[in-house]
């Protein structure tokens, strides 16, 4: 009986994680001026367990992060993480719907030719 309860609880936990809702955090990060900055910050943020996608907008000084709702995205944690990478974390806003796609974070897609021939809107 004990075993059955444990298995059921385990399955419920797994099921719960599998269907955890992704939310979006828009982090305001100062000091980022170049593509290297974006790569460094994104790499660090991607290491947080629960983060599924990251995208940087240098002009707005924001990094958008898609993560499971229960992901630890506390201010002290983000501040420490980004300070280590050489930037200043300012604040964050939370959106219930994640609007960035994983493809946006693919740094391999950033290329010399792509940079010249991409159609800008």
């Amino acid at each position: 009986m004990k075993k059955l309860l444990l298995i059921t609880a385990g399955l419920m936990l797994l099921g719960g994680n599998a269907f955890a809702k992704d939310v979006q955090y828009d982090l305001r990060v100062d000091g980022m001026t170049c593509p290297f900055c974006a790569a460094t910050s994104e790499k660090a943020l991607k290491k947080i367990k629960g983060v599924s996608a990251v995208s940087t907008d240098l002009k707005k000084a924001t990094i958008s992060v898609c993560a499971a709702e229960d992901t630890d995205m506390s201010d002290p944690k983000l501040s420490k993480l980004l300070k280590k990478k050489g930037f200043t974390y300012v604040n964050k806003t939370k959106q219930e719907v994640c609007s960035i796609s994983a493809g946006k974070t693919d740094v391999k897609k950033t290329g010399f030719l792509r940079g010249f021939f991409h159609k800008h809107s």
Binding site: R28, D30, G31, M32, T33, C34, P35, F36, C37, A38, A39, T40, E42, S55, T56, D57, L58, K59, K60, A61, K83, K84, K85, G86, F87, T88, K104, T105, D106, V107, K108, K109, T110, G111, F112, R114, G115, F116, H118, H120
Partner: protein
Amino acid sequence: MVCKFNIKKGGLTATVTICLTIAMQALAAPITFNTALPVSDEEFIVRQQIHYSKASDNLGSISRDVKVWKSITAVGYGVTDKFAVFGVMPIINKDMQIGSVKREVSGLADMKLFGRYQIYRKDGPGTTTRIAPFLGVNLPMGKTGKTSDGSTDYFGGLILTRASTNWNVDAQLKYTANGKYSGFARGNEASLDASLQYRINTHNANVNISGYLFTVLETSLVYADENKIGSIIDLNTGGTTAFIAPGLQYATKRWIGEAAVKIPVVKDLNGTALQPGITIITSIRVNF
């Protein structure tokens, strides 16, 4: 980076000293000096440069011609968010002809090791200002009398960087105290370098789609003391030189490709010292 052509007494040996200094993190960075190369905490950066320089003049009826190919590999590691260490390993090939005398030397040249500590940082949205002193040593790894003068040299300086998403300004003040080996002491050297990088493809801010293309203009002012052989001053060494270096830089999230042409504009060298020529620099760097 500072390039110095230095013809020793007798005119048979030419040495080229390339000073690579690397520092700040997370910014675009100059091409001809490396004090603003980006390296973050617990990350590596590798920069590979190829330099080609040519200098020639006539000393009375004797023509002098020096061509130098140089491969410079610089590796940096961010020990903390403020402190980074770097190593620079040059391999050179010098082809010299003075009158009818030809000489070619090649191999490993002197290795530079140095550290940089950030003492000031002020960040804003899409902007940053950083100041960092650096201190290093030039180890005589090359063949003495060929690709090295055999001395251990020390250098230090200060880097200032002001950057935004559309332009960067970097400045470096540097002093090199050259050591003595086997009676020969190269003159000490002071330099002031500056770099302005201006972004020209500003229509797209999404770094995930395209990189940043910068036009670059760099300047360098170098003063070198005369060399000493024993207690005798070599009057045909040392002096003041200044350079400008227009270039291009393409920066993506993981690599940067860049090229510049370093042109001497002031050649106020002592005695019969060989006047510096043009240096072409190509470079690629990757961080990981």
